[in-house]
């Protein structure tokens, strides 16, 4: 039966069909829906791990115990999991272990556009790249099979356009049962002390040779000979764009792109007049082909950064100029994403912004506070970076007249990789104020549970971490819980804590308004503007709430369709013009 599946749904389906029994990951766009779909298969144990490193280590343990395993993450997640990943490549596996990572060319929802194909080459493990959902599903099976046969973890690399595009996929009801035996004690394989690692590294070189032979012979790397004037080596989504624009060309389509099939490439190059590589982000394949002494072109024809599109491919290969189309002759206001009406983060960032306190930021919905009008975030590097950055900044500024900065971090992000940062502040006698934006969920990626919510991915009730007790156990005695809807309390606590000479933790706690809206039975107490009282001072606009706008006659107006009924704007209006709507 053929069904329409996204790349992520297809990977989940592949997990079921090819006998995966354990799956772990951390949410991250564009990879999140893999585990959110795997949870529907009762045959598979699955979990959100606190972070990608723990997810991969869980995956290693499961593989050793004999379970076929998937570990999922976004591209930057593999940076977090790189430590186990690099040495897992030495130990190899027991049952098949496939690491699915989703790159984000064009940075639709990411802080960088790193090309994770290099991780496969770096770690010396096979790299598989689907170009549609059918291939995504089937490559899960192929990946598990070669993981077991060649004793190696396998990197299955998706991209946003693979993960979030739907295409027709043949699904089967039967599920393969893996025949891998239980763990057998084998310290030379699994205990990576130098003496053992040196021997394993030699074996890895042999393994790469065998994998290259596989890359030459597998059907996943295939030539599609057509018009021989142009030959294009490509895989992933670039293949689809090329086929769209250049249906007559010849192709060497690579589903397994590390190790590269040298002989296949040489033969293909010989049979075409002009050879190209079409790939997104970096000349990963092209540079290797050039190193083989083969004349090839590709990257130089394309923009240096960003994702490919069929239009870019057409401009590069057909020398088409960019389509002119119709331009209305007026400037179109951009529509950036914003924090939702009623978002509990708004009050906190409004307060920081008014006080001109610098905030070392982190990854989550709250990163949107960098945009006007709040402009309340000063850095955003990676998951968990806010705390270490604040600590370092404040250490360096001690004794100067530079005011201290705060670190702001979401609850899920804190539990992902903020713990060690906070430990650093406590241990090294910092004085930083760290603010946890505790909205009781992983909101940005679509409300996933985490160790603070009391529920697991599979919906089981579980223990929830107590953030206050945790910080106190680190030796931080100044811990305050505040409601970000209460601007007065927020302001007082922040003023007091940034002046303190010891570290402090402020837990700004209120559930995500979207979560609350789903649970809510009654209508929220919305706010409206009493037009006769509105002085037109625009103070409310400084909140950046999308429900509030300004009318031509210089009065604020609140859109009742958008207002989620938070009291923050009411507190900001000095004229008392914003009032609760009587129900």
């Amino acid at each position: 039966m053929k069904v329409l599946l996204s790349g992520n749904e297809a990977v989940a389906r592949g997990g079921y069909e090819f006998g995966v029994s354990v799956a772990a990951g951390y949410p991250g766009t564009p990879s999140t829906e893999i585990l959110e779909n795997i949870v529907h298969f009762s045959e598979i144990y699955c979990q959100w791990s606190p972070n990608e490193k723990v997810a991969l280590e869980t995956g290693i343990g499961a593989s050793l115990a004999g379970a076929r395993t998937l570990v999922t993450m976004k591209h930057v997640g593999l940076n977090v999991a790189a430590d186990p990943f690099m040495t897992l490549a030495y130990t190899g596996v027991n049952a098949g272990l496939v690491i699915v990572c989703a790159d984000d060319p064009g940075m639709h929802s990411s802080q960088n556009e790193q090309d994770n194909r290099f991780y496969a080459k770096f770690a010396q493990v096979p790299l598989l790249e689907p170009s549609d959902s059918q291939e995504a599903k089937d490559l899960v099976g192929f990946g598990l099979e070669i993981s077991e046969k060649y004793d190696t973890p396998v990197l299955l690399r998706l991209t946003t356009r693979i993960s979030h595009s739907k295409s027709l996929t043949e699904v089967k009801d039967q599920r393969i049962v893996s025949s891998i035996g239980p763990f057998a004690k084998d310290p030379k394989k699994y205990v990576m002390i130098p003496a053992h690692s040196r021997k394993r590294h030699v074996l890895m070189k042999t393994r790469t040779k065998s994998l290259r032979a596989l890359s030459e012979s597998t059907d996943w790397n295939r030539c599609e000979m057509n018009d021989k004037k142009i030959g294009i080596i490509c895989g992933s989504i670039a293949y689809q764009y090329a086929k769209e624009v250049l249906p007559e060309a010849s192709y060497l389509k690579l589903g397994m792109s590390h190790p590269l099939p040298h002989k296949l490439i040489t033969d293909f190059a010989r049979h075409v007049e002009k050879l190209y590589v079409l790939e997104e982000l970096t000349p990963f394949i092209e540079d290797q082909v050039k190193a083989m002494g083969i004349s090839v072109e590709g990257r130089s024809m394309l923009p240096d950064t960003g994702e490919l599109t069929p239009d870019i491919v057409a401009q590069a290969f057909l020398h088409e100029s960019a389509p002119k189309g119709y331009h209305p002759g007026v400037e179109l206001p951009p529509r950036p994403p914003v924090m939702c009406p009623g978002c509990p983060h708004r009050g906190l960032f409004y307060t920081l912004s008014r006080k001109k306190i610098r905030a070392m930021g982190d990854i989550g919905c709250y990163t949107l506070s960098v945009l006007p009008p709040l402009q309340a975030m000063d850095t955003c590097i990676c998951m968990g970076a806010s705390i270490g950055t604040a600590h370092g900044f404040n250490k360096a500024s001690q004794g100067s007249d530079v005011p201290p900065v705060v670190g702001v971090i979401g609850d899920s992000t804190f539990l992902h990789s903020g713990l060690t940062g906070l430990l650093d502040v406590a241990y090294n006698q910092g004085n930083s104020t760290i603010i946890i934006l505790d909205n009781r969920t992983t909101a940005m990626t679509g409300f996933q549970h985490h160790p603070g919510t009391g529920l697991t991915l599979q919906g089981k009730e579980t223990r929830a971490v107590d953030l206050k007790a945790l910080a106190e156990s680190f030796g931080i005695s100044r811990v305050h819980e505040v409601d970000p809807y209460d601007l007065k309390q927020l302001s007082q606590v922040i003023d007091r804590e940034v002046k303190a000479s010891e570290p402090s933790l402020i837990i700004s706690r209120r559930p995500c308004v979207l979560l609350e809206r789903k649970k809510r039975k009654t209508k929220p107490v919305q706010r409206q503007v009493a037009v006769d009282l509105c002085t037109g001072c625009k103070a409310c606009l400084k909140l950046g709430c999308p429900a509030i706008s300004f009318l031509a006659e210089d009065k604020a107006v609140i859109d009742p369709l958008m207002c989620n009924g938070c009291p923050v704007c009411e507190q900001v209006c000095k004229a008392g013009a914003i009032q609760s709507v009587a129900i």
């Binding site: 053929k2 329409l4 766009t29 564009p30 999140t32 639709h108 929802s109 549609d132 946003t160 356009r161 979030h164 595009s165 739907k166 295409s167 027709l168 989504i237 689809q240 764009y241 086929k243 769209e244 599109t309 069929p310 239009d311 057409a314 960019a322 389509p323 002119k324 189309g325 119709y326 331009h327 209305p328 002759g329 007026v330 400037e331 179109l332 206001p333 951009p334 529509r335 950036p336 994403p337 914003v338 924090m339 939702c340 919905c365 949107l368 945009l371 006007p372 009008p373 940005m444 990626t445 679509g446 625009k538 606009l541 950046g544 999308p546 509030i548 706008s549 300004f550």
Partner: protein, 195 residues
């Protein structure tokens, strides 16, 4: 089955307007009608009230999930400014079906930029067929304010004579809750009649 002509449809609007659900229904309809189908969307940071665009493609064999600029057959716009932003993706013979609704982006509500005042006129200036649809009114008439996306799909269905009405209804029935089915069916018919 006789193979029908390819159709490239771009659905645009503001995060939270029900665009993804509309694109899911449309893609399923294409599949039911015997086409190869591809659909592309973006999640995460691009939602949260930002501009959202979803590509849906039907054809004998579809390669790219993204439609090329200037090749879109139908632009289904849930909001006026977004319609204007994407109208240049239409092919010369393409048509735009536009929900007559204005949602201020924060760049406008904060007073830093102006919302273009005469969008309907500017859209017509593009030379494309432009059909304005009173989505919210029709959805309210059907009994559910949230059924704007079904009204718009109903309007689009009027432009796709190859696909039987029953096929649309079959997919809509499979996608909406029993409680809202009646309102959604009515919304579909009102949209279809309006187009």
């Amino acid at each position: 089955m006789k193979m029908k002509k390819k159709k490239d449809i771009l659905i645009v609007g503001v995060g939270g307007q029900g665009i993804i659900v509309a694109s899911e229904i449309l893609a399923d309809v294409g599949k039911e009608a015997g086409f190869d189908v591809k659909k592309s969307e973006v999640h995460g940071m691009s939602q949260r009230g930002g501009s959202v665009s979803t590509h849906v493609r039907f054809g004998k064999q579809v390669f790219s999930p993204l439609i090329r600029q200037g090749k879109v057959d139908f632009l289904l716009a849930f909001e006026l400014l977004e319609a204007l932003r994407w109208v240049n993706f239409l092919s010369p013979h393409g048509a735009a079906l536009v929900n007559n609704l204005k949602i201020n982006p924060t760049t406008v509500s904060s007073g830093s930029m102006e919302y273009p005042s005469n969008i309907a006129h500017l859209l017509k200036e593009s030379g494309h067929t432009i059909q304005l649809i009173e989505g919210i009114n029709l959805a309210e008439q059907a009994g559910s304010k949230r059924a704007v996306n079904i009204v718009l799909l109903g309007a689009l269905s009027g432009f796709l004579p190859d696909i039987a009405e029953e096929m649309w209804l079959k997919v809509i029935r499979s996608r909406v809750s029993a409680k809202t089915l009646q309102a959604n069916e009515k919304a579909f018919y009102l949209g279809r009649k309006d187009a």
